[in-house]
């Protein structure tokens, strides 16, 4: 064997042994994860998942209970609506519930989803690659201007007191922390709302490869948006307001 062959032989041996080491190390780590499932992180995460499942089940139960109570309340209030004198009042009650976002509503609309750039790197990617509160507010303003009549953000109904702000990398809506993707559902003229998003220059910029915000838009022939009361108690958002005619 000449000198050159020997050198190549050594290099190949080293490379093969490193590759073998990588596989072996990986195998060991997998084995460790498999056999040491009671690792402290795994236990903590498992506990949190269980706690989350309990909270979700509680939420479902409370939401169902609320639906039953709302239905019961409507039935009781309707008793008097058979009286012609209170028929108009009952109609106004229903109209204001509709305008205030306190009833479920359905209609045609669009679903707009905004998500951070895939594998966002804070060092190399521009700040716009992350969806900010301003991006969500901008999108909503665009949709209201295009004729949207009702809207939700990640399932929560927007109302006269809706507030969206930013804390660190996440967005707060009505003081609830939201995680991306941010899904905006809007009932209204679907064509006009879709055109508004598609032709908007700021959205075109966000879609560019170097920014890479992931935007999806779909038209929905029929969608239902939940009442604000399914997620929040509206009375706590109007306790500072004194009606002027009562003063």
């Amino acid at each position: 064997m000449n000198m050159v062959s020997k050198r190549w032989y050594s290099i190949i041996t080293v490379l093969l042994s490193v590759v073998f080491g990588l596989f072996f190390g990986n195998f060991l780590v997998q084995g460790r994860t498999l056999f040491r499932a009671k690792d402290s992180d795994a236990v903590a995460i498992s506990d949190l998942r269980a706690e989350l499942a309990v909270e979700k089940a509680k939420y479902e139960q409370l939401a169902n209970r609320q639906q039953e109570l709302e239905a019961r309340k409507r039935t009781l209030l309707q008793v008097d609506s058979h009286d012609p004198s209170s028929e108009r009042l009952y109609a106004a009650w229903k109209e204001y519930a509709l305008l205030s976002g306190l009833t479920d509503v359905s209609g045609t609309g669009i679903r707009l989803t905004l998500d951070d750039k895939l594998n966002y790197n804070p060092v190399s990617d521009p700040i716009e690659s992350v969806v900010h509160d301003t991006t969500v507010i901008y999108a909503m303003n665009l949709l209201w201007a295009a004729g949207a009549r009702a809207m939700t953000l990640n399932g929560t109904r927007m109302t006269a007191v809706s507030n969206i702000s930013c804390v660190g990398p996440t967005i707060l809506s009505y003081d609830v922390r939201l995680m991306p993707p941010y899904e905006i559902e809007a009932i209204g003229p679907a064509d006009s709302m879709k055109k508004a998003v598609e032709s908007d220059s700021w959205f075109a910029r966000l879609r560019q490869k170097e920014i890479g915000v992931r935007i999806t838009l779909s038209e929905e022939a029929m969608m239902t948006l939940p009442s604000f009361s399914k997620t929040h108690d509206f009375r706590s958002y109007m306790d500072l307001l004194i009606p002027v005619d009562e003063s």
Partner: protein, 246 residues
């Protein structure tokens, strides 16, 4: 001579075995390091996400629970009214609840302590919609329960957007060269200690961005602010695209 050479140089087998062992150790360390870093990053993120989700659900559950308690009491009162034959009581309850909905929707004029922000453009400067939006969003995030811009009540469907020389609010055009007066009812206990100083900071940042000569910003604490109701001819009253789900 040959024996001496062989004693100084390890055999080929020993040499290759050493290379093999070192290679395996290097590979092993690299694999363990990568896995550990990756696993720790993933578990930190999952942990944080899960904690956030739990807090979010706990908050929602608390609100729903409060609402259900209130509804339950309300239903009991309605049932008592019906059982005792007080039909008029139910009538009054519908009136009361209708008014609550109307206030929440912004269909009634309201008053209380609050703040006002006046934006006055200097000669030639046209106010940008984003400046008004920023103050409105900040006020909402600060807990404002009612906001008006030039007397236009902010409701769920209110848009604030520039269109050439105007800014459109609730479908009404306002000149970008005229002052804009934003009023809000906010938590009274925080007005002087937090809200006004915070808004001054926002104004200071804006002045730095657009220049001191472009826009005058005046922020005042108000002992009584009246926020008008939404005008009945505004687009927010159009509800033909909404089907109530009974």
């Amino acid at each position: 001579m040959k024996e001496k050479k062989s004693a100084n140089n390890p055999s080929k087998l020993t040499r290759y075995t050493t290379i093999l062992v070192v290679g395996i150790i290097v590979g092993l360390v690299a694999a363990l390091l990568m896995k550990t870093l990756n696993a720790s990053a993933v578990s930190d993120k999952s942990y944080q996400d899960l904690q956030n989700s739990i807090i979010e659900y706990q908050r929602k559950n608390e609100e729903l629970n409060n609402r259900n308690v209130h509804l339950y009491e309300y239903i009991r009162e309605l049932e008592d009214d019906l059982a005792s034959g007080k039909g008029g009581e139910s009538f009054l309850r519908i009136v009361e609840e209708k008014e609550q909905y109307a206030i929440f929707a912004g269909l009634r004029a309201v008053r209380n302590k609050g703040v006002s922000v006046t934006l006055t453009p200097m000669s030639g400067y046209k106010i940008q919609d984003i400046v008004i939006q920023q103050f409105v969003n900040e006020l909402s995030a600060l807990g404002a329960q009612a906001i008006s811009i030039n007397g236009e009540r902010k409701v769920a469907t209110t848009e604030i957007r520039a269109n050439q020389d105007s800014i459109i609010i609730n479908g009404v055009a306002y000149s970008r060269e005229s002052p804009f007066d934003i009023k809000a009812i906010v938590p009274p206990s925080k007005i002087d200690t937090y809200i006004v100083p915070y808004l001054e900071t926002v104004a200071g940042n804006l002045r730095e961005q657009i220049g001191n000569d472009a826009l005058a910003i005046a922020i005042r604490s108000e002992s009584s602010v009246t926020i008008p109701a939404l005008e009945e001819d505004r687009i927010a009253y159009q509800k033909e695209l909404l089907i109530p789900v009974e």
